[in-house]
């Protein structure tokens, strides 16, 4: 089952958990499952965060495919100059 890793600043919205195992064949399914379990995560993740799926950073995740062993990290979206 894919694993989603939460950054320290969001863990209090997920009962203090740093990693959560959830079902999902696509990143949108995984995030939907995450938000169902921890509704308070939806707003900060949607508004300010990107995800890294097995090392590939995706700023606006949608239908990216996941494997049973996928590691998804939530991280802050990056600006630049």
């Amino acid at each position: 089952m894919p694993v989603i890793h939460l950054p320290a600043e969001l863990r209090s919205l997920a009962d203090g958990q740093a990693r959560v195992e959830l079902p999902g064949e696509r990143i949108r399914d995984l995030l939907a499952a995450l938000y169902e379990r921890f509704p308070d995560l939806e707003k900060p993740i949607s508004n300010r965060m990107a995800v890294a799926i097995d090392g590939t950073i995706v700023n606006h995740p949608l239908n990216e495919r996941l494997s049973e062993r996928s590691e998804v990290h939530v991280l802050t979206r990056i600006a630049g100059g």
Binding site: L10, G55, H73, L75, T76, I78, A79, G81
Partner: protein, 754 residues
């Protein structure tokens, strides 16, 4: 295509298409456009750094003959506070309006309070003088200590500290706008495992990007409500969005045409003039030009943050890092939004670490709202960590490059900010510097060398490109990214590579917001990566059309046609190849004009790692530091046009040297900037610098068709610490506060001697 041998044109040093226009002074920059009937705009700026505006009297200015419009902050909409996604940045729309023109309070000296448009510059200046602003002065908050004091004067009475989750518990009004922690492992466990622990504080001052061309624009409000804007910007679509917001118009009513741009470095991602010029044009019915003076640029546009970083490092005696803890305090200027978040995330990205705690604070002060500056936040953070690692190397008696090699990330490492790194060239860059003469050669008396690393994420984001083929077999490539660092040449090379024609036959054009689809800004080191990706896809789209036309000509299925070296090839060999110019010349008989287009939302920009070594000589009798050698190595993925990649490295180093040695905003007690000009705000000039050697390490980025990764920002990350480390080695004095100007260094040397 990642095999370098496979490239025909990419990697060559083609002639810069816009070079002749620029060196002969013919290129049109922001202030160069004039329109019939055009008025001169002038902005009235605050004479106070912090004050309530009691009243603004514009009656005398309005009655002056030749004045056609006067506006104040009350003429802009009172928008609800909300964050507007701007590509990768977020902006509070209310702060944007309040920064464009003050309402209620002025928050820094030079804050715009009113604007006029008149038939001549003299009358505009006279009218500006006639606008009377009555202020109620407030105490000024000019640095971190003043902002954080228990009874500190508040810039924004309704501001509380936010986190990624929302307001902190039991929020109270404060100058601390944002708090972000980054945690990994257990920091106490990490320090318990350390055999050596160092802890120090490092500070940097407010510095400006120092772009040569001041902000400038012309706005022309048409009858019927449409507005044309010409301006110097890194993001014409960003200007369109923000101007539409400020004027409460749909974006479709506004066309923005970017001029040539004389530097930006992030500073021209901010929008100051365009909504003002547009509103003056709407009110006057005439085109309006607004041009900032150098003084206005320094007083009222966004520099980067002054910072204070407390950092504690734990290590084994063999140099293995066991823990790093840091507290980063960044000045945001008058409105929230310093680059402390990327500072927190980049600070330790180059190192394998199990136990980390980095905390960032975004703090408002009575200075101009900071703007992006190349790798925003990363240079200040790197100054702290790369300085203390140099001190650690000295303490442990380990070569500073070996210390970094021991702890550096590589492919498969987990970045402290989250993801796993793919192929990266950090260790290759470290090895390259280790054998370079600037590092390896012996040092003379009063000389020293210093090493530092730099990291920047780089970004992708949205880009559009169009490739249009002309009847003579040449091509026109249109993108929406202003050419700051030679991107026309790079776009031409990438299109040439796909089409199979020389780059000289490809005309690269920067479009306006109506001639090309949406493009995010020229920033984030994204243009060659993301817009280049769009160009490659658009050119491939055009090649697909060319193959279809050849198939039609030969009356064969398109599957039997391939493309190579600028020719359609009949795979079975029954027909002689058709060249691109033969196909385009015959296009009228095969379906008409031929073109390709692409739109991308590029993901997974490859991160950039750089390693630099400075070699300096310090005069102990004056404190003067002369840079006598410098080498910058960087993993650039694939250099599309090596000259411009090298130029990016050299430019970043030059700015970083200035940041280290001389540059700083100097304010008086009332918050008035005392050095608002290039005579007193000293950026490095050519005679201050040695030849900056470059080493392009090419570890192809697997997510780009040519292996490209962003380049432009990483080079400014290492110089602050590389220079400070070199000065420490040369003088025997560790300087932890920038700038290390001659009087400061002399004083430190003298104090140590005493």
């Amino acid at each position: 295509m990642n095999d370098p041998k496979a490239f025909r044109f990419v990697g060559s040093r083609s002639i810069r298409p816009d070079g002749v226009e620029k060196v002969t002074g013919r290129a049109q920059y922001g202030a160069d456009l004039s329109l019939p009937g055009m008025l001169t705009g002038k902005i009235v700026r605050s004479t106070r750094a912090h004050a309530r505006i009691r009243h603004i009297d514009v009656t005398q200015a309005m009655s002056l003959p030749g004045v056609l419009a006067v506006i104040t902050g009350d003429d802009f909409p009172d928008l609800e506070r909300r964050m507007l996604p701007m590509g990768e940045q977020q902006m509070d729309v209310r702060d944007f309006i309040d920064n464009t023109m003050a309402r209620g309070k002025v928050l820094y000296h030079g804050h715009a309070v009113a604007a006029v448009a008149a038939v001549s510059p003299d009358i505009a200046a006279q009218a500006a003088e006639l606008i009377k602003v009555e202020y109620e002065p407030l105490p000024v908050v000019m640095d971190l200590d003043a902002a954080l004091a228990p009874q500190a004067t508040l810039l924004h009475e309704d501001q509380v500290t936010l986190t990624m989750q929302g307001p902190v518990e039991n929020p109270v009004p404060t100058n601390v706008a944002f708090y972000m922690p980054l945690k990994k492992g257990d920091i106490d466990t990490g320090f318990a495992a350390a055999e050596v622990v160092l802890e120090n504080t490092y500070t940097t001052k407010t510095v400006h990007q120092g772009y040569i061309e001041p902000h400038a624009c012309v706005a022309d409000a048409k009858q019927g409500g449409r507005i044309d804007i010409w301006c110097s910007t890194q993001g014409p679509f960003l200007v369109r969005t923000l101007t539409a917001l400020a004027l409460e118009k749909p974006v479709s009513d506004i066309k923005v045409t970017p001029s040539e741009i004389g530097g930006g470095f992030g500073g021209k991602l901010a929008v100051y003039l365009e909504p003002v010029a547009a509103l003056l044009s709407m009110r006057s019915g005439r085109p309006v030009k607004l041009v900032m003076s150098r003084e206005e640029v320094l007083r009222a546009t966004g520099p980067t943050s002054a910072t204070r970083t407390r950092v504690k490092v734990g290590a084994k005696k063999d140099g293995t890092l066991t823990a790093v803890q840091a507290k980063l305090e960044f000045e945001a200027g008058a409105f929230k939004g310093s680059p402390v978040v990327p500072a927190v995330m980049t600070m330790l990205a180059a190192y394998e670490l199990d136990h980390v705690l980095v905390e960032g604070y975004d703090i408002v002060v009575n200075k101009p709202k900071v703007a992006a500056y190349r790798a925003p936040g990363a240079p200040q953070a790197a100054f702290a960590i790369e300085s203390i690692l140099d001190e650690l190397a000295g303490e442990l008696g380990i070569d500073p490059i070996d210390l970094r090699l021991k702890n550096a990330v590589s492919e498969g490492s987990m970045a402290v900010y989250g993801p796993q790194f793919k192929a990266i060239g950090l260790k290759e860059a470290l090895q390259a510097v280790k054998t370079h003469p600037v590092y390896a050669d012996p040092v003379g008396p009063n000389q020293g060398r210093g090493v530092a690393l730099g990291f920047w994420f780089n970004v992708g984001m949205q880009s559009s490109a169009a490739v249009r083929l002309n009847e003579n077999g040449s091509a026109t490539v249109i993108t929406g990214n202003p050419d700051i660092g030679g991107s026309r040449a790079s776009m031409a090379l990438m299109a040439a590579e796909e089409l199979g024609i020389p780059a000289e036959q490809v005309q690269a054009v920067v479009g306006n917001t109506e001639t090309i689809g949406y493009c995010d800004v020229t920033g984030g080191s994204r243009t060659t990566f993301a817009t280049g990706m769009a160009v490659i896809e658009a050119a491939r789209d055009a090649v697909a059309r060319l193959c279809e036309r050849a198939a039609l000509t030969w009356d064969v299925p398109v599957e039997q046609v391939s493309w190579a070296h600028g020719q359609a090839i009949h795979i079975a060999g029954d027909h002689a190849p058709l060249s691109l110019d033969e196909i385009t010349a015959n296009a009228i008989h095969t379906g008409g004009p031929i073109a390709g287009a692409a739109q991308v939302n590029a993901q997974d920009a490859g991160p950039g790692f750089g390693v630099q070594c400075a070699r300096v000589q310090v005069d102990p009798e004056t404190g003067y530091t002369r840079v006598i050698g410098y080498v910058a190595a960087q993993d650039v993925g694939k250099a599309i046009h090596p000259s411009y990649v090298e130029g990016q490295l050299q430019g970043g180093v030059a700015q970083g040297i200035g940041w280290t040695l001389n540059e700083e905003y100097i304010y008086d007690a009332d918050g008035v900037l005392l050095n608002a000009g290039f005579l007193d705000y000293r950026v490095p000039v050519a005679s201050d610098l040695p030849m900056i050697d470059t080493i392009l390490v090419e570890v192809p980025h697997p997510s780009h068709p040519y292996g490209v990764r962003g380049v432009g920002e990483t080079p400014i990350v290492p110089p602050l610490a590389a220079m400070a480390n070199a000065i420490a080695a040369a003088s025997g004095v560790r300087m932890r506060d920038l700038p290390i100007s001659p009087p400061r260094l002399y004083q430190a040397i003298t104090a140590q001697g005493a």
